[in-house]
Symmetry: C2
Subunit: 365 residues, 2 copies
Amino acid sequence: MEKVHIAVSQAYDVLIDRDLLAQAKQLLTPHVQNKKVLVVSDRNVEAAGYVSKLVEELTSVAEQVTVEVLPTGEAQKSMANVTRLLSRLAELNFSRTDCLVALGGGVIGDLVGFVAGIYLRGVDFIQIPTTLLSAIDSSVGGKTAVDLPEGKNLAGVFHQPRLVLCDVSLFESLPSAVFEDGCSELIKYGMIMNPILLKGLLERPAALKASDADLVEIVKICVELKASVVLEDEFDQGLRQLLNYGHTLGHALEQVSGYQISHGRGVATGMLVFLKIAVRQGRLAPEAVEKFARLLHTYHLLPERYNYSTELLQAAMLKDKKRRSQTITIVLPSEFGRCELKELPIEIFMNVFEEEWLAYGQATS
Amino acid sequence: MEKVHIAVSQAYDVLIDRDLLAQAKQLLTPHVQNKKVLVVSDRNVEAAGYVSKLVEELTSVAEQVTVEVLPTGEAQKSMANVTRLLSRLAELNFSRTDCLVALGGGVIGDLVGFVAGIYLRGVDFIQIPTTLLSAIDSSVGGKTAVDLPEGKNLAGVFHQPRLVLCDVSLFESLPSAVFEDGCSELIKYGMIMNPILLKGLLERPAALKASDADLVEIVKICVELKASVVLEDEFDQGLRQLLNYGHTLGHALEQVSGYQISHGRGVATGMLVFLKIAVRQGRLAPEAVEKFARLLHTYHLLPERYNYSTELLQAAMLKDKKRRSQTITIVLPSEFGRCELKELPIEIFMNVFEEEWLAYGQATS
């Protein structure tokens, strides 16, 4: 078993291995013994049998185990669900020493982390990511959030989990499109700060699969990368914005599509468009674009074409939280495997984006 | 002008004087210049003319000033209002550098502080308390919260304001019942940690009024007392619970009455009942009870009688957030002007409370 220690203000461990859910009783005992536990999950995860497995593990150690199973999809990251879960905790008489468990992907993790962060001004929670994306992204760093009708992740808190149990075997039941979404974040880590990881992905004889022997190691590398960034910038003042590579446009695409475009695919397009902007600005050589697009295509992350207008996406990006008053901070590659933050006046960014988006539309139409 | 510096993790000042609202432009400029500002207030405060006065002060310095006026009353501290205000901020394209202003009593302050604490995971806010109660209690310490149908203050975050502008002239327009509610908290500070303040209140020839010359000084003493407690215990791990003297029962009374019983009156009854428990346990001499009741009566803080059953109040207290799994921490006077924390098994507390509540009912019926 791999263990990554995340030494933020309230430190915790990320445990990474195969078949960890089957050891949940033993691994979670310090956090749930004689406590009330609310497990929040979604219908897909329940259908895969993971909810009943976890409940079976916890029942003999916890004082009480209650389960809330939500429908799937980004729409669940809502203030309505926050309000509902808060009332559920109050009905169950949850006290400050009880514990929530998020068993699911990023939607469940972000929602449950937020609820745990505000109920009684903060109670414990444990993350058990069931997708590659949430394992390497939202499970590390303590950012929790829900969406508003006006945009994604607009309300949230910083709240660290007590433990992350990352059982990569769970990813084997994922639909391939969902696993590929996680690969988009893998590629992002490579592109922003790890040329070796990026090279490894490029030179791999076949696309990464959930059953591949080196998945535990790859997840560990990404968790360590994210942890290193988070440690330097726990409250998202600067460096951490590197992790938003591709996200400014990615979030906008997710939102204008009513979340029909997945996070990984939105981010993939965002990364490619922003790479093209960087090339156009002379930051790195043009060959990078084709090489990078090829990698994204391997994981089916680029769509045939988009039908969203420049104006619609510009408006959505302006509503995104990364915006500062009169400027926008964007993440641009400086070499193949390195990115840097660049603050631009909003108007200039919008012009550059428009040119690139129109070119992108022509290339893919 | 008095200034109390609150040196919590994100330090800020509390400015205390008469006629500060008229200087809001100058005093708030560092925090609102070229920023979007959302002023949230309530109808009573608007009717007193304070909202238009503040907007007039801010319009020439801020980039944009928007106002939200809510109905009055505890029912406004709801998740529905949180959701609505979050969407309002998103519609206004508020960014991380913009600023909210809470112009009102504890309800507005707690609600706006919470919204500011979660919008984009935290934006600035300024408190301008319009009641004595909020000036000396909720404006200091960074505790924000809203109520759930199941109980008071069950959802919230720790989020410190950037500045508190405490203009005691604003209290002159308060209905006397609302000013007296603030006096309940004054008395609480005296009883938990300042025998001199308590003695001063007891020996005062007439009840304190909003126009009294020494009000600025008295408010300053209370803000300093609260700040000293908050500084030792910013995240409410122990000492800060002293401030909850009278609140376990006070919150329960507020809640079972559908918030018809005010905070100050609920807390006053809570303080008296818990003083009686302390006397019954031999912690201090019985004379304290009559002396303390007389002081509370001076400010009309004790009702003729209550019609709530022991069982109803016990259930409400159990839902209160101060409850730990199998024990409850209560605040009991140890002398006239000193309190201490006492952790009791829930069952024992419930028995003691039942005896005292029945006796209290007989005494007041």
